[in-house]
């Protein structure tokens, strides 16, 4: 069973906050993803379907619809690079290329570096347009980026130091 008793208890409580049980699915997907090192296994999805009384297709439809859920293994650090209009105008493509070169990871179906340390994703606007270009790592925003700042960020991540965001 992929769902621990502790998580089950947590989700039971979670469901009491919504008029319908199934509404707890998205927060539960987030929690499971965090617990499981950043991605959702097929077993987790199956267990969640069972837990919420949904068909497995429904859970898969939801999990594959939202970009923040990952259905394949990810590296230790997931770097989400915004490529939407403001960031694009401020050099997001070059920045992305730079990140790819440094990490050895490239966005695509399997965007993880061979050493398993980094996953690089292209994402749409994160609402930080005023400080474009930007990336998001471990829930933190890193803004007004240039190659030098990116290198510092990567070094921090490599060293295991908590990479604090710009905000």
């Amino acid at each position: 069973m992929a769902l621990s008793d502790a998580l089950r208890a947590e989700f039971e409580e979670l469901c009491t906050h919504y008029p319908e049980r199934r509404a707890g699915l998205i927060p539960a997907l987030h929690r499971c993803q965090d617990e499981n090192g950043g991605w959702l296994t097929p077993e987790i999805l199956e267990d969640l379907a069972d837990f919420f009384g949904l068909a497995p297709v429904d859970v898969y439809g939801v999990a594959s619809f939202y970009p923040m859920f990952r259905l394949r293994p990810v590296g230790e650090h997931v770097i989400s690079v915004c490529h939407n209009i403001s960031c694009a105008l401020r050099g997001a493509e070059a920045l992305l290329e730079h990140i790819c070169e440094r990490t050895g990871a490239r966005p695509g179906l399997d965007g993880t570096s061979p050493d398993g340390r980094f996953t690089v994703l292209r994402v749409e606007c994160q609402g930080a347009c005023a400080n474009a270009p930007m990336v998001e790592v471990h829930g933190e925003y890193h803004e007004d980026l240039d190659p030098a700042k990116v290198d510092r960020l990567l070094a921090e991540l490599q060293s295991g130091a908590p990479a604090r965001g710009a905000r």
Partner: protein, 928 residues
């Protein structure tokens, strides 16, 4: 054609104006359907009458006076006085624009596409002259594997998908299989399965519905891929030849290659409303199987060798006449077939009675529903489904006992699912956890063989609680007192004990059924295939009468018939006791009528039923003529049957394949499938429907009715019928209940439900309204009798048998389909998790099942579908036949065997105990 689906009296109507025309439709109808009823076809891509409105494509936008903006006609209900415009210059411009957007994401290579000529996207693009390049040229993007790559039946081509959502919605809400979903989003959105798993590893039931609803060629029949565009094929409307539901299907035929390319069905078709199950959609390959018999065979020096028709017929003529001379007419017997047409069944019994002069004629109903015919005839006066398929959706409480419709009668199952969506309550009494059981409000998982204990306790509770319909009992029934007296011996507690279920469940079920407005009972072989089968049927009838739940719209007692024409075979008198139309040959008036038309005296000695024929084979019975029935594979205690058949002087088989029975014959005549001949089948709901010839038979094979005419001639009494229609006219003239039926009228009405006594009669939807066929409904006092064979220390488990969704009967037809074989190709035995653990048996392991009669090996499907004290096997697999195991004890009234329960033991395979079988799908099937 088909009248309103709901009881017409309950409908309110609304009048509105569409394109200047006044239209009156039932309240709640959507604008698109309302327009259609007035002959106005509003363009639509994501609409299907069976699926709740999706509203994704916007092709159906119309103008409604007073509404803000355009309105999607598929999702908007009509209102009184509404003014609708469905087509004008602005709407046309909008539709053109919508289409151009679709085409920008659709790989429109119509010249190489199977759907060309039947594609709504193509039709509309042409009608509105949409420019496929207006938003750029679409290039194919999806060339990798997907969840259908390995599937043999279904192909999904994302480049042709317009994301209308019909397949997903159909699968989720109509089939309720929930195998498909949209995954990903925006321009990456595709239809897929959970985890993109291979389709056969999901809950997909291979119903083919996603293919049939798809407006483009994104969901395709893989086996028909590039085998002919729609416009190259001819459509032949016919009746499915698998189960007794009687679905109407369209065979798409390539005349040049003499092949059925694929099968489809149209919404609105009588009975199935365009739905089909896996057997109907994918199970037609047997027709063109290389194993088909193509010439007559004669046994020479012990081996079957090819012969000419003349030789074969001459031999049949001389041998059968000799035997008749030597042993009298009763030395011969005929077994007719529930798979053949009414006309052919009529001819078999006519040959038996009028040519040979014996009542030794029977059909396989003995091995399934004879208790129904016998039991219901005594209770009500006629032994058939009392209601129609289309009434199921209006039922409020469905009471299923010993029935597994989603697998054995999938389209009845679908109609029941429709009733559930409309709020019906569901009670299921079944030892197995079937789909219906899982979705039931009350599931009584009683021990196999304890049905009468259960029913008696329920009825006693109904009387004790004052829930019985006193009025109905007094005015419409008789023999109530003895029946009620008998119930005194049955308490709910005792029944709970005997059935192994909770007493509260029995009480709740009794109340729910009695109070339903209305309730209906559905049962199948779980009731009849017992040594007390006829008693079981009568008790089911008792329950309905006790609560007045019969003789009404959507309320009655409904035996779901197994084979496509088992109803018809009985209707045609292919059984010893009754002539066509259930008339008694002992009745002087009836006898005179038949003798006049047949120009032969009516035989006067009782005939034999199939089990008696087998028992008498080689003794009093010297010759047996079998049409389209593999008795070796289907009768219980196989070894004994083979011995008996071998001792016959003469055995003739008229067959499409060299079956186990045919292998023993002296003469084998190659006959035809349903796709190669004309005629009629009568389905469960008593509807007589047309079977139409679509392809030519292989080699020298002939239609069964033609063969029978030749055999009659060889026996010295020519029967020169021109065609099956003429045969039908003769039998209709002899049977008052079919008097108003003819091939011409069936075609006009889309089928006719008997009784249909005259040319101006529209057929009968439900039976026993106001009066039972026999006058008063008759109660019977039924005592519980334990199964003949109870578990012993040597055989501690109860073995029950049945059918699966994917296969049919002894499998000789269904197993020819590659699509079906891929999903289910080998025998299995369902075992409860706890029992398996006790025996140390793992899921998927090959094991031995033993009874006092024999042993077979099968793969263990470990799960929770059966009770811990029970194991269950399907009977479709001739090479490891479950009927080696089943008990050949019989119902005393009808000689139906106790297939449904006997004592058994399981064990691990002695040496190679760890051998595993490949396919994973049963395991998935058993545990889901």
């Amino acid at each position: 054609m088909e009248a309103a689906t709901r009881n017409p009296a309950t409908l309110d109507s609304v009048i509105l104006t569409i394109d200047g025309r006044q239209v009156s439709v039932p309240a709640g109808t959507d604008i698109l359907t309302a327009a259609k009823s007035a002959g106005i076809d509003i363009p639509h891509l994501c609409y299907d009458p069976r699926v709740e409105a999706i509203g994704a494509c916007r092709m159906c936008s119309v103008k409604v006076e007073g509404a803000r903006g355009l309105v999607a006609a598929c999702g908007q209900s009509v209102a009184p006085g509404m003014q609708v415009i469905t087509e004008d210059e602005e709407l046309a411009r909008r539709r053109k624009h919508v289409l151009e957007l679709f085409l920008s994401e659709h790989c429109a290579t119509c010249s190489g596409c199977d759907k060309s000529g039947a594609c709504r996207l193509q039709d509309y693009a042409y009608r509105y002259q949409a420019d496929p390049h207006r938003f750029g040229v679409y290039r194919p993007r999806y060339d990798g594997d997907n969840y259908t790559t390995l599937n043999k039946g279904i192909l999904y081509d994302a480049d042709k998908c317009i994301r209308c959502g019909l397949c997903v919605k159909y699968c989720e809400t109509v089939q309720m299989a929930e195998a498909l979903t949209f995954t990903w989003r925006a321009d990456r959105m595709v239809v897929s399965t959970p985890g993109d798993d291979d389709l056969n590893d999901t809950s997909c039931e291979l119903c083919g519905g996603c293919i049939r609803v798809c407006p483009t060629s994104a969901m395709l029949d893989k086996r028909a891929f590039h085998a002919g565009r729609n416009s190259d094929l001819q459509r032949v409307r016919t009746t499915c030849s698998y189960c007794g539901v009687g679905c109407q299907m369209d065979l798409m035929v390539d005349r040049q290659r003499n092949r059925i390319v694929r099968v489809t069905a149209e919404p609105g078709s009588p009975i199935n409303d365009g739905n089909l199950c896996v057997k109907g959609h994918f199970g037609f390959e047997f027709v063109s199987s290389p194993e088909r018999l193509t010439q007559p065979l004669i046994r020479r020096n012990g081996a079957l060798e090819p012969a000419t028709w003349d030789e074969a017929l001459a031999l049949i003529g001389s041998r059968m006449q000799e035997i008749r001379k030597q042993h009298g007419p009763d030395g011969l017997a005929f077994i007719s077939s529930a798979r053949c047409t009414n006309e052919e069944n009529y001819l078999v019994q006519k040959i038996a009675r009028a040519v040979v002069g014996t009542h030794n004629v029977d059909n396989c109903a003995t091995s399934c529903h004879a208790p129904t015919v016998a039991g219901l005839a005594e209770s009500f006066g006629s032994g058939a489904m009392t209601n129609s398929t289309t009434e199921i959706r209006d039922c409020k409480v469905l009471f299923l006992i010993g029935a597994n419709p989603t697998e054995a009668h999938p389209i009845f199952g679908l109609e029941m699912k429709r009733a559930l969506r409309r709020g019906a309550k569901l009670i299921v009494c079944d030892p197995r956890e079937t789909w219906m059981a899982k979705h039931a409000d009350i599931h009584i998982q009683h021990r196999s063989g304890s049905d009468n204990m259960l029913l008696n306790a329920m009825m006693r509770h109904i009387i004790d609680e004052g829930l019985a319909d006193r009025n109905f009992i007094e005015s419409r029934c008789e023999d109530y007192e003895a029946f009620a007296e008998n119930l005194k011996g049955y308490t709910v507690e005792a029944a709970a004990e005997c059935c192994g279920v909770d007493a509260e469940l029995i009480r709740a079920a009794a109340r729910m059924y009695a109070e339903g407005e209305p309730s209906a009972i559905y049962y199948t072989l779980g009731i009849t295939e017992h040594a007390c089968g006829t008693d079981n049927v009568k008790n089911v009838a008792n329950l309905a009468m006790l609560c007045g739940q019969i003789g009404k719209w959507a309320s009655g007692v409904n035996p779901l018939r197994g084979q496509n024409n088992v109803q018809g075979a009985c209707d045609m008198g292919a059984m010893p006791a009754k002539l066509p139309g259930y008339q008694r040959w002992s009745d002087a008036e009836v006898r005179a009528r038949f003798e006049a038309v047949w120009d032969a005296p009516m035989p006067q000695t009782e005939g034999l039923k199939i089990p008696m024929m087998i028992a008498a084979a080689g003794a009093e019975l010297r010759a047996l003529y079998v049409m389209g029935q593999d008795i070796v594979a289907t009768e219980p205690n196989q070894a004994e049957v083979i011995e008996r058949l071998k001792s016959l002087d003469f055995l003739v088989c008229q067959e499409i394949f060299l079956t186990e029975t045919a292998k023993l014959a002296h003469v084998v005549l190659p006959s035809t499938t349903f796709a190669e001949k004309d005629g009629t089948f009568t389905c469960s709901e008593r509807r007589v429907q047309l079977v139409r010839k679509a392809v030519e038979p292989p080699g020298e094979a002939k239609a069964d009715w033609e063969i029978l005419c030749l055999v009659a001639e060889a026996l010295g009494k020519p029967m020169p019928y021109r065609d099956p229609a003429e045969i039908y006219d003769e039998l209709a003239s002899l049977s008052p209940m079919f008097a108003g039926i003819s091939h011409r009228r069936i075609a006009e009405h889309g089928g006719l439900q008997w009784p249909c006594p005259s040319d101006d009669h529209a057929g009968t939807r439900f039976l026993h309204e106001g009066r039972f066929t026999r006058g008063k409904g008759r109660f019977h006092a039924i005592r519980h009798q334990p199964p003949r064979e109870e578990p012993t220390p040597e055989f501690p488990l109860i073995l029950s048998t049945g059918r699966t969704l994917y296969n049919y009967n002894c499998g000789s037809m269904s197993r020819k389909s590659a699509v079906i074989s891929q999903k289910e190709s080998a025998n299995f035995v369902e075992i409860h998790r706890d029992t398996a653990a006790r025996y140390g048996i793992a899921d998927d392991e090959k094991i031995v099942v033993r009874t006092a009669r024999g042993r077979v090996t099968a793969r263990a499907a470990v799960g929770e579908r059966v009770r811990p004290d029970t194991i269950w096997m399907p009977f479709h697999f001739a090479e490891e036949s479950a009927n080696v195991l089943t008990n050949d004890v019989f119902d005393p009234v009808t000689a139906t065997a106790e297939y449904k329960c006997c004592a058994a033991e399981i064990e691990k395979l002695p040496a190679a105990g760890t051998e595993r079988l490949g396919s994973k799908s049963h395991a998935a099937h058993a545990t889901r």
